[in-house]
């Protein structure tokens, strides 16, 4: 997504600075409480790379509101305007995101009590749990359709494309031209991943960050997520071109319209890279904020780092010294490791000899040099990895020939190798989510071997030892299996076609 309204949020508070959190993130509604710190337009934009897919239109368009979309997109009115909104509201959890802001929600009330805030007036909460951070704050009077994560949150503010997109000529416009009108190209895996990751990882530009203080107050941990699997779980309100009616497909073919260059496996890999990109970009953006805001420093922000680097039980004998720290200084918090599995598989499948750790090495070295890294150096160190990730995405984006079985097999093997070296169960889980659909239909393995491997890997999906799934206020899950057991599940037999 990547809305970059010109107003930047005031700097995010340091852990424990509760009062500052209240003051700095209070939405305009909370007038008397608001402290004027680096207000909006005088702050330069973040120094890290811009969001993928951001255009001028995305920064200047305004919202029309979901009721505008519902007028057309609510029933089967022709092949292109499907019942998107009905499906969306019925099945998609995003439509209920605003319920987290309800005062009757027990967990929310606890967070409000601990942090001393009102969530419905706090920007950091509204930014993810409702439709658009730039809009006026959600109040008690906001109609239901405006609350939650609405159409325009993902598809882009509609003021520029509302009229044009109803025209028949619109449908075969190249996606870049559609983006010029402010419609996010969600068919592109990189853009889609950035869109999801804005909330599910974070985005300073739009004021979206779950800080560690919020976690400590009771906010559930942001779960390791894999875009394709999570999208499927939403009850998707879209169809791929291949699933559209025959007439539509014929027209598209005639017009030479190709929206999805990359095949399913490559989509997962690109999205994995996109999620990693967001994680790196978030660190750099927050470091930029911290650099500007001395002495009111919002650094370190613990939520930028791997949760499990600290939040693990201390047992003897311990798995952690046994597994090692990949030649980093033991005990220093580092970047979250869960995106690295999928991203590493993506790099490998492009034939890049470098590993994802090599790619991130400059940034990880900064976390070695000083606990949490020094903001100025983190900004500089993030540039190389961001460029490397962009280059890898560019290599994968054009896609391969549809019948490239050897390439598919290589991608599957890259994913399996990533799972076999996963750092923790969450990393293994997202690799499993990406690997399963590909492996289940791959002709490169015999049916029996395939089924056995898929069963082993599917078992990984159900693990949640760190309680990272939403609703982790339920009773604690069972003990974590040793990471070696988890890794072992990814060991695939040699493909039959290679024998």
């Amino acid at each position: 997504m990547g809305q970059h309204p010109r107003q930047l949020p005031p700097p995010l508070p340091r852990p424990g600075a509760l009062v500052a959190l209240v003051l700095l993130l209070a939405a305009p509604v909370a007038g008397p409480l608001q402290k004027s710190v680096g207000r909006a337009d005088d702050l330069p934009p973040p120094t890290a790379a811009p969001a993928i897919g951001a255009t001028t239109a995305t920064t200047t368009a305004t919202f029309k509101g979901t009721e505008t979309c519902v007028r057309c997109h609510r029933s089967e009115q022709g092949e292109w305007t499907g019942p998107a909104t009905t499906l969306h509201w019925r099945e998609d959890a995003h439509s209920r995101a605003h319920l987290a802001l309800a005062p009757t929600n027990e967990r929310t009330a606890a967070i409000e009590r601990v942090l001393g805030i009102e969530v419905r007036r706090t920007r950091a909460c509204i930014a993810c749990h409702s439709h658009a951070p730039a809009e006026p704050a959600v109040t008690a009077e906001t109609p239901l359709l405006h609350a939650g994560i609405s159409c325009e949150t993902c598809h882009g503010a509609a003021s520029a494309y509302l009229e044009p997109h109803a025209a028949k000529a619109w449908r075969f416009l190249p996606t870049e031209e559609k983006a010029a009108f402010g419609m996010h190209d969600l068919r592109s895996p990189a853009v889609k991943a950035a869109n999801c990751a804005d909330c599910h990882v974070g985005d300073i530009g739009s004021g979206r960050l779950v800080t560690h203080a919020m976690y400590a107050a009771g906010h559930p941990p942001l779960r390791a997520f894999e875009v394709e699997a999570f999208s499927a779980a939403l009850g998707p309100h879209w169809r791929r071109i291949e699933a559209k009616p025959e007439t539509v497909r014929a027209e598209a073919a005639a017009a030479g319209y190709r929206t999805e260059a990359a095949g399913p496996i490559d989509r997962s890999l690109i999205e994995g890279l996109g999620v990693l990109r967001q994680s790196v970009r978030l660190a750099a953006d927050l470091a930029a904020v911290a650099e500007r805001e001395t002495p009111q420093v919002s650094w370190p922000e613990l939520s930028l780092h791997d949760c499990l680097a600290c939040h693990h039980e201390l047992v003897l004998p311990s798995e952690r010294p046994a597994l090692g720290y990949r030649r980093h200084v033991p005990g220093r918090p580092t970047l979250p490791r869960w995106p690295l599995g999928l991203a590493g598989a993506a790099l490998r499948s492009t034939g890049d000899p470098a590993s994802v750790d090599d790619l991130l090495a400059p940034l990880l070295a900064e976390f070695d040099a000083v606990p949490f890294g020094s903001p100025r150096r983190v900004i500089i160190a993030a540039k190389g990895p961001l460029a490397g990730i962009d280059a890898a995405i560019a290599r994968l984006a054009p896609g391969r020939a549809p019948s490239d079985e050897a390439g598919d097999r290589a991608a599957i093997e890259a994913l399996a190798a990533a799972g076999a070296t996963a750092d923790d169960v969450d990393a293994a889980r997202i690799v499993a989510a990406a690997l399963l659909p590909a492996l289940a239909t791959s002709p490169a393995w015999g049916a029996d071997e395939r089924r056995a491997a898929c069963d082993r890997i599917a078992a990984i999906l159900g693990l949640d030892p760190a309680g990272m799934s939403p609703g982790s206020h339920r009773p604690a899950p069972t003990a974590s299996p040793a990471i070696r057991t988890v890794r072992a599940a990814f060991v695939l037999p040699a493909p039959t076609s290679a024998r």
């Binding site: 340091r14 852990p15 424990g16 600075a17 509760l18 027990e106 967990r107 606890a110 009590r113 601990v114 942090l115 560690h212 203080a213 976690y215 400590a216 107050a217 009771g218 001395t294 002495p295 420093v297 650094w299 370190p300 613990l302 949760c307 600290c310 939040h311 693990h312 039980e313 201390l314 047992v315 003897l316 004998p317 311990s318 952690r320 010294p321 046994a322 090692g324 720290y325 030649r327 200084v329 033991p330 005990g331 220093r332 070695d368 040099a369 000083v370 606990p371 949490f372 020094s374 903001p375 030892p465 760190a466 309680g467 990272m468 982790s472 206020h473 339920r474 009773p475 604690a476 899950p477």
Partner: protein, 493 residues
């Protein structure tokens, strides 16, 4: 000192033999010898330059060579000095080294560096083999007494005599003379002798390794690599220490020995903790540190382990730890809960207000903000740490100088904490410190000599202690409920 009971024919024969052997030795050395006594080719030649041959300096085997180092336990534990056989008819000092070698864990301090755990630690830190890494050897051997690497046999001595009693090179001969008895503390100290007669002397000796300082630092990188955390309480350690000296005529027989040891120990340990904090925040890389690049602040080992190292699975809202009211801001760990709990139990005169204030100020500074980059703030922390160290040192000296130490105030404080409507015990660290303080209160007087009868009080206290023990295979304290502690504590009169 043992003397020969009589010199007779046997003595003459012995002398003759020695002369004969000496003659043989002289004859042997008439021919050119390799500089060491290992069979050539030297198996250690591959070690390269700068390595010290474990056979010792070349001069050692030559008569009239340079004075060999006296650091080793061997130089103290000659059978006619301190390494004689145990027995009841001669002074304990004649077999002090024998006792030490038999039962003292310090003797095995260097052995542990060969274990699998140590090997893995050294691998993760990238410092070379643990038994040769200065970072490990400064605490686990006498390497901190020598600017050059110690030969292997001295390393194998572990934390030897010299570690606590001082390097005997300058006083090893002198202390056998009558004049030694007439020398004062300062004169002896000038020769490198470390006087360990009072609890204050002893605790300041122990905290060098068991708390740490600029050169000896078990920091978070070491702990993450696998090192146990350091938790030190002097009186408890002293009580359980296998003595290699006679308590007769020493501090142990003082009427308030246990109480004094506890109070002095707490104050001096606090001072050492504050000095270590100063060293860490000053970003001085310890001389022994080789693996940590760049800066090291915030040093996580200054903070509560359980503040971070807790599972986030299944945590019910709110996630704020109810066991730590008001100690830390949301989402940041408490600073040094062990030292804070100990400091809170110390009571008394105006000197302690300095200590209390120092603790409170540091807590304010450290629990609100961790930022690694802010030099100003780190300067402030350094000043506060130095002030706390000075205040705690003053406190320790005041206690050491006082005629009598009693811990009634401490007992009252603990009672107030666990009483109905009281604030309760805030954390595991506070609970353990309370239990150890209770032990000191109940022991109160001279050291326990021999095996005391275990009575009801001791049993209840032991039960309370057991309830606080780490669960098996866990490096974390048990989940402790205040009500449990209260109940168990109530059983102890």
């Amino acid at each position: 000192m043992r003397r020969q009971e009589r010199t007779g024919w046997g003595g003459l024969a012995a002398m003759g033999f020695v002369l004969f052997a000496g003659g043989m030795e002289l004859a042997r050395t008439a021919t050119p010898d390799p500089p060491c006594h290992l069979e050539p080719p030297c198996p250690l030649e591959s070690r390269g330059e700068g390595e010290v041959c474990p056979a010792g300096p070349a001069d050692e085997s030559m008569p009239g060579g340079a004075m060999p180092s006296r650091l080793g336990v061997a130089s103290c534990s000659a059978s006619s000095c301190h390494g004689g056989p145990k027995g009841t008819n001669h002074a304990v000092s004649t077999f002090a080294a024998t006792l030490w070698m038999e039962r003292d864990p310090h003797a095995r301090a260097a052995e542990v560096l060969h274990s699998g755990r140590s090997r893995r630690m050294a691998e993760l830190l990238g410092i070379g083999p643990a038994h040769q890494a200065r970072r490990c050897l400064v605490c686990h051997s006498m390497a901190d007494l020598s600017p050059t690497p110690l030969p292997d046999d001295l390393v194998a001595d572990g934390v030897g005599c010299a570690s606590c009693h001082g390097d005997p090179t300058a006083w090893g001969s002198e202390h056998t003379l009558d004049a030694w008895k007439r020398m004062g503390r300062e004169e002896r100290a000038a020769l490198g002798y470390r006087d360990l007669s009072t609890p204050l002397d002893r605790v300041n000796n122990c905290t060098r390794c068991h708390v740490g300082d600029a050169e000896h630092d078990v920091d978070h990188a070491l702990i993450a690599a696998g090192h146990p955390r350091l938790v030190f309480e002097f009186a408890a350690y002293q009580k359980r220490y296998p003595r290699h000296w006679s308590p007769a005529g020493r501090a142990e027989v003082g009427d308030d020995f246990q109480a004094r040891s506890w109070a002095v120990g707490q104050a001096a340990t606090l001072a050492a903790t504050a000095r270590l904090l100063e060293a860490r925040v000053s970003d001085q890389p310890a001389r022994a540190t080789s693996a940590l690049p760049g800066g090291r602040w915030p040093e996580f080992a200054e903070f509560d382990c359980q503040g971070c190292h807790r599972s986030i699975a299944g945590v019910a809202p709110p996630a704020v730890d109810a066991l730590r009211p008001g100690w830390s801001a949301v989402g940041t760990p408490a600073w040094q809960p062990w030292s804070q709990a100990g400091g809170a139990l110390l009571t008394g005169s105006s000197a302690e207000r300095d200590v209390d204030r120092g603790l409170a100020d540091l807590r304010q500074l450290l629990e609100r903000y961790w930022g690694p980059a802010d030099q100003t703030r780190r300067g402030r922390i350094r000043l506060e740490a130095r002030a706390l160290a000075a205040a705690a040192d003053r406190r320790a000296e005041a206690i050491a100088a006082s005629n009598e130490v009693d811990l009634d105030d401490v007992a009252t404080k603990i009672e107030a904490l666990v009483a109905e409507g009281g604030p309760g015990i805030g954390s595991w660290e506070a609970a353990v410190q309370s239990v150890l303080a209770l032990e000191a209160v109940l022991d109160g007087g001279p050291a326990q000599l021999g095996n005391a009868e275990s009575d009801d009080v001791d049993r209840e206290l032991a039960g309370l202690r057991e309830s606080l023990r780490y669960p098996p295979r866990q490096e974390t304290p048990p989940t402790m409920r205040r009500s449990d502690f209260k109940r168990l504590r109530a059983n102890v009169p």
